[in-house]
C-alpha cells in the first residue's frame, strides 16, 4: 500500500465499527464481570474437576459434530452434482434447504421424540433394545441434532462454490484425459475446500457455544460449557456470576483457537 492512494480496507470500517462496538463492548464487560472478585472466579474454575470434564465433553461433541457434518455435507453435495444432475436435482436442492431455517430447538425436540427411550425409534424396534441415545454421557443426541441440521447447510455452501468456473475446469480436465477420480481430487475438492472450511468453522463455533440443544439433550453433569455457563450465571448464589462469565470466555477462546487453526494461517499467506 502506497501513501496517498485510497486504502481498500476503508470499506470494512463500518462493519468493523459495529463489530467492535457490539462484540468488543460485550467482551470487555464479560472480562470485567469475570474479574469481579479479582482472580477468585478463575482460580475456583481452573481448580475444579468439572472444568476438565466439561471442556473435554464440549470439544468432543463439537469436533465430532463438525467432522461428521462436513463429511456428510460434502458427500451430499458431490452426490447431488453427479447422480442427481439429470434426475431429481432440483427437488434434492430444495429438500436440502428445508433444514436451514428450522430452529435448533425444534430439531432438538424432534430428536428427543425420535431417540428417547420411549421414542419412535425404540417403539418401532419393539422395546428398549437400544442404549440411551439422549441425555447420554457421550452426547449422541446432541451430535445427531447438529449433524442433521448442519450437513445440509454445508452441502448448500459447497454446491454454490462448485458452480460456474469449476464446471468448466472439470470439463477441461476431462477433455484432457483426466480420470474421474483425478478430476475430483485435483479440481473439484480444491474448489470446494474454502466453502467447506468456512462452513466447518461456523458449525464448530455454533456447536461449541450453543445452549438449547445440550440443555435438552445433554446429561445433567458434566454438561457442555454453554449450559454450565448459564447455570453458573443464574445460580442463587450471586457470587458465582463471575465464574459463569469466565466459562463464557473459555468458550470464546476455544472457538477463536479453532477458527484460527482452520482458517487463519492459510488466509494470511494468501
Amino acid at each position: 500500500m502506497r501513501p496517498g492512494r485510497s486504502w481498500a480496507g476503508w470499506g470494512t470500517v463500518p462493519a468493523a465499527f459495529v463489530l467492535l462496538l457490539l462484540f468488543g463492548g460485550a467482551l470487555v464487560e464479560a472480562v470485567s464481570v469475570s474479574l469481579d472478585d479479582g482472580l477468585g472466579a478463575w482460580r475456583r474454575l481452573l481448580g475444579s474437576d468439572e472444568l476438565v470434564a466439561s471442556l473435554a465433553l464440549t470439544w468432543r461433541v463439537a469436533l465430532t459434530s463438525t467432522i461428521l457434518a462436513a463429511a456428510l455435507g460434502l458427500l451430499i453435495a458431490l452426490l447431488v452434482r453427479r447422480v442427481f444432475q439429470t434426475f431429481g436435482g432440483r427437488v434434492t436442492r430444495v429438500l436440502l434447504q428445508v433444514p436451514l431455517p428450522m430452529p435448533h430447538l425444534v430439531v432438538a425436540i424432534a430428536a428427543l421424540m425420535l431417540l428417547s427411550q420411549s421414542g419412535l425409534l425404540n417403539r418401532l424396534l419393539g422395546g428398549a433394545a437400544l442404549p440411551p441415545l439422549v441425555n447420554d454421557r457421550f452426547g449422541v443426541g446432541i451430535v445427531f441434532t447438529y449433524v442433521w441440521k448442519e450437513a445440509p447447510f454445508i452441502a448448500v455452501l459447497v454446491l454454490s462454490a462448485l458452480r460456474g468456473e469449476t464446471l468448466k475446469l472439470e470439463e477441461v480436465a476431462q477433455n484432457l484425459g483426466a480420470s474421474r477420480w483425478r478430476v475430483l481430487r485435483e479440481v473439484t475438492l480444491p474448489a470446494a475446500l474454502p466453502a467447506l472450511r468456512t462452513g466447518s468453522t461456523l458449525v464448530f463455533a455454533y456447536a461449541f457455544g450453543a445452549f438449547e440443544v445440550p440443555r435438552l439433550l445433554g446429561q445433567t453433569r458434566p454438561s457442555m460449557l454453554g449450559v454450565w455457563s448459564f447455570r453458573l450465571y443464574t445460580d442463587v448464589d450471586l457470587a458465582r456470576r463471575p465464574e459463569g462469565m469466565a466459562v463464557a470466555l473459555l468458550i470464546f477462546a476455544s472457538v477463536v483457537a479453532a477458527a484460527l487453526a482452520l482458517n487463519g494461517v492459510r488466509g494470511r499467506v494468501r
Binding site: 440411551p132 440443555r215 435438552l216 445433567t220 458434566p222 448464589d237
Partner: protein, 411 residues
Amino acid sequence: MTRVLFVVLLMGLGGCKRSTPAAGLDDADLTRVPFEKVTAAARGQSVRWFFWSGDGTINRYVDDFVTPTVASRYGIRLERVPVDDPALAINRLLTEKKAGQAAGQVDLVWINGENFRTGKAAGLFFGPFSSSLPSSKFVDLDSPAIATDFGTPTEGFESPWNRAQFVFIHDTAHLAVPPASIEALTEFIEQHPGRFTYPAPPDFTGSAFLRHVLYAVAGGPEALAGPFDEAKWAQVSAKLFALLAKWRPNLWRGGQTYPESSSRLHQLYAQGEVWLSMSYGPETASSRIQEGQFPATTRTFVLEQGTLANTNFVAIPYNSQHKAAAMVVADFLLSPEAQLKKQDPSVWGTLSVLDRGRLTEEWKARFEAQKPGVATLPADLLEAHAVPELDPSWLERLEAEWVRQLAHAPR
C-alpha cells in the same frame, strides 16, 4: 441549550406525575381514610402490574376477567407487564431507588419468597397497607401462611392473592395406591427400578421435591424452622444425601441423568417412562388432562406428612405514582368474587387465600358448590396437608450440595 430544555421538560413531567396521586390524599392518608376515598382517588389511574407471564391460563384470568372488571367498575386501566422473573422487577426498583427516582414505572408486583425479603429489607415497598383493604376481612391475617412469606414476616407490606401447593401426580391405571410418604416412595423406587425421577435442582420443582425429602429426614418442618443453621444442616444433610444416594441406582436411567425441568418430567410421565410426576400447582394435572397431554386416569396425591404450600402476594412499590389504584386492584383480587373465579377449573383452578369461616353464608355456599378439576384434590384436603416453606437461606446449600454429591454421572 437543548440539554437545558430537556431537563426543564423532564422536571415539568416529573412535576405533573407527582401531582397525580395527590387528589387530596398523600401516601400516609391512603391507609387511614375510609376505602371509598381511596376508590374515588383511584378513578382514572392506570396500574402497571409486573407479572410473571409464563402461563397462558393465568394470563387469561387477568386479561379476560380482572382487567375488564376493574376498568368498568373502578375506572382503572390495569396493564399486565410480562416479566420472566419477579427478581427483574426487584432489580429495577433497586436501581430506581439508588438513582433517587421518585416517579416509578411499576405500580404492583406479583411476588413472594426471596424477592419479597430482598425488597422489604431495601425498603422498596409501600405499606403496611394489606389490613386496610376491605376484603382482608375474609382472610385470616394471623395464620402463618399469610403472616409470613417463606419465613419473612409480611407485616402488611404485601397482600395475598393466590396459593399454590405441591402435589404428586400418578396414573391410577398403573398405580392404584400411590406412595404417600417418603418411606413408601423409597419402597416404590426399590420395587420399580427406573420408574421414578425428579427434575435436577436448581430447577424450581426439583428443588421443592428435595425439600420434602429434607423435611422427612429431619422429622418435619418444625425441625428446620428459621434461617440456615450449620449444626442442624450437618445433622440432616448426612441423612438426606444417604437416602438420595440409596435411591439413585434405581431412578430413571439409573440416576445417570435427571430431567432438566418439570415439563420434561411431565413428558416422561405422559409417555409412561416414569410412573410419577410432580408439580407446585395442584391444578396442573387437571389442565393437562383437559389438554389431552396426560391420560384421563391421572390423579394427584399429597404426602401423609403434608406437602409444601406457599402464598403469592402483590406488593406496591414505594415510588408508584398510582398507589390508590394499586390498592383497589389488590383489594379486588382478594374479593370473594375474584377468588371464586380464580378457583374455577375452567378458568385457572388454583387455591383461594380466603378463610371459609369468614365468608358470608351466600359466598360460602358458592365456594362449596364449585367442583375442583377432575384430578385436583379438594381444597380442604390440601389445606389439611399444607406444610410451610423452608426459609430461603437453606436453598443455596441444599442445591449446591445436591450438585456436588449427586449431579455428576458416576464413573
